[in-house]
Symmetry: C2
Subunit: 420 residues, 2 copies
């Protein structure tokens, strides 16, 4: 093994996609109520016009705009024909000189082409409607535009028009748009099945402190909990998880056992060189081919391994043992992979200015954790420094930005911060 | 009723908190695996040092730094005492002139105060370790700093130190930090129980299109789906939902029926003035007191009503019937309310520059929807204009920013965009 032959992030991603980019998550039809946060698997077109009829967007009177000039000039009135109720069709069309009361959201009568807001009008007991002198110029001068106060049929969504595209990560408003279209079942991409194998001779299952703290050189397993949590928002559901000692036979067995029921098997190893070799060898033996990526020139996350098992169509990924590195690499590679395969847009990073210098790393891209501080209409990004593997460098941070290999990010530099 | 006596957003929030700010979500203990996205209800302190022992953060040799100058100057060697395994305690302390192999993450022997990376060394068959000539100056010149390559016990988290604060919205890295502390059960705030009553004579239950589209002036109910989806990420779980006609008796009965099993009851009414009056009167009759807020000077969202039932300690909220207004108001008032009560930080808005002018509204704050376009290390915000109530103004947008009443937001203005 040589960790010198590392790939750049872009290089590693390109190799990963070249070998496994044909994987496509299955499509499942979910009840709309369960589709929030899932990725739409098809383009959705409107089956009908929305609104399905010309509706008022104000409380007031439906009029024929051509009548307004005369009414305004003469101080004359419009005769009210009816008050149209929500959910009901008007009883008759408007003739010249007539108006009808229409509440917000109700249907306009035929012949009407504009709305006058109720607060700009007065109505007498005989049902005669006049424009108030205090009304705005467009009402008092009779220059009411055709279409004022109306949403036309299809003006929100046109029958046959695109409502949402494949790859949309469904937000509450998207769920609303689907409900408006009567789409109470939605085809979304299935989550990838993830198996997490956390390895290390030092690892013990986390238990309630302080009753049973780790002894001597033991360390609680953090990666299982952290990766299961990360999986949830990244397109993965955890099919299985296990903590193992650094034993080639046990790891090989566990990976083989997980192949059938997983789309991705993650082995998070200790960070020592021997253990990294072990994962790499296990993957090679199982897949019968060279690993796709062996080392990424990024800090943290260098000892990352990517392999592909052609027989079962499963991605194998070796993640660093340090929780921070494991989480960063999961984001960089696996969360990105699911977004790519499902046609999702990359999430929006937050622009910020560095409050002080942050050094990069020789030969490696640095993912530098920062805390964000809102400062007027912009952010200051304050680097959170800490030794390799410290979990608090992440819990104290709001996100991270990228420093190119060998570079120095100077105070005041504009950076893009990815939330963590 | 007078919609003229509206409150500003800040005014409405202040009144809301003054009357209902004593409500506190219950605290429940969840398994760590279920705590992601929930709000921590207590400050969490470290019960032990993490790491719990001095550990190496590189693969290499533990040394006594004082020995290094001599070894470097004389070209002499250090005698390796042992190779320390992951998870195991060293067998003996280092004496002067000795070193021990320690992989990343393993425990340092007593007496060692620094690590030399394995790639900077050479070892012969007799276990004699020398510094390579190609090693960096600090190694070859024997100026190795005390603590180099080591994470000291408690350097990540100190026993008794604050790990996470009450009000933290738990992210994957926070879950990792809790696992590292052996906190496999976490006290988090319970979700508020929300009942959604969607009212309107025009409303029909959404059904699969195009088989059963709404007839005539009927409109599919969107608010139930949209509010249930919004609830999920805002601290609420839906206890019940129902679609009703605009009938005072039916609505009163539904609200009364929901009081016992809800912390918040939402009535989303049609947007016409008559219906708004109806909700206001129903709330007054039920609570026996004046409504707290009746109208907010914001667009969209003006016809919002807030009331409080002292007997059952329940918030009653009347939301506009238009889905966009209902969702905006839910975010402005109810999502904010839960954040406030649980001590959460406000979410980070995204700074952007307006790509063109966006007019405000006379007498009202405007929540202007925008699409975001990344442009170098900043964003352009492009207003999404559309008539009141159009759902596509939200589905086409990435978020919204605030325009003060009567103001005009000019092209190039720096704005803060809240994701939607």
């Amino acid at each position: 093994m040589s960790l010198q032959k590392t790939d750049s992030i872009e290089g590693a991603r390109a190799k990963f996609i070249a070998r496994a980019g044909h994987m496509t998550p299955a499509v499942e039809r979910l009840p709309l109520a369960d589709a929030l946060g899932r990725v739409l698997a098809v383009d959705v077109y409107a089956a009908e016009d929305i609104p399905s009829f010309d509706r008022s967007i104000v409380d007031g009177y439906a009029v024929r705009s051509a009548d307004m000039a005369a009414a305004a000039q003469t101080g004359g009135f419009l005769r009210m024909t009816e008050a149209i109720a929500m959910g009901e069709a008007p009883k008759r069309a408007l003739e010249s000189g007539e108006c009808a009361y229409v509440p917000t959201g109700a249907m306009l009568p035929e012949g009407a082409d504009a709305m006058v807001m109720v607060e700009d009008t007065a109505r007498d007991e005989a049902g005669r409607v006049t424009i108030r002198a205090s009304a705005p110029p467009w009402a008092t001068q009779g220059t009411l535009a055709v279409g004022a106060g109306i949403a036309r049929a299809g003006e929100d969504m046109k029958r046959g028009g695109l409502v949402l595209s494949r790859g949309a990560l469904l937000r509450p408003c998207d769920v609303g748009a689907l409900a408006a279209n009567g789409r109470m079942e939605v085809p979304v991409y299935s989550l990838f099945r993830l198996s997490v194998i956390s390895t290390g001779d030092e690892l013990v299952e986390p238990r309630a402190a302080p009753r049973s703290p780790p002894q001597g050189a033991e360390v609680r397993d953090v990666n299982t909990s952290a990766l299961v949590a990360l999986a949830a928002g990244s397109g993965y559901r955890v099919a299985s998880s296990v903590v193992l000692r650094d034993d080639a036979t046990a790891i090989t067995e566990a990976v083989r056992g997980a192949l059938g029921a997983s789309d991705v098997v993650v082995v998070s190893g200790g960070s020592s060189m021997g253990e990294r070799d072990l994962t790499a060898e296990v993957f090679k033996e199982i897949t019968g081919e060279e690993n796709i990526v062996h080392g990424i020139a990024v800090k943290p996350g260098k000892p990352t391994i990517v392999a592909f098992d052609a027989r079962t169509q499963t991605v194998l990924m070796g993640l660093p043992g340090h929780p921070v590195s494991a989480m960063m690499t999961f984001r960089l590679m696996l969360a990105w992979f699911y977004r790519k395969l499902t046609g999702q847009r990359e999430p929006f990073p937050i622009p910020a200015r560095l409050c002080c210098d942050a050094p990069g790393t020789p030969g490696r891209t640095t993912l530098q954790a920062v805390a964000l501080h809102l400062d007027g209409t912009g952010y200051k990004a304050e680097p959170v420094f800490g030794k390799s593997g410290m979990i608090t460098t992440m819990t104290r941070a709001d996100g991270f930005f990228v420093i190119d290999a060998d570079a120095l990010a100077l105070e005041g530099t504009a950076v893009l911060v990815y939330p963590c």
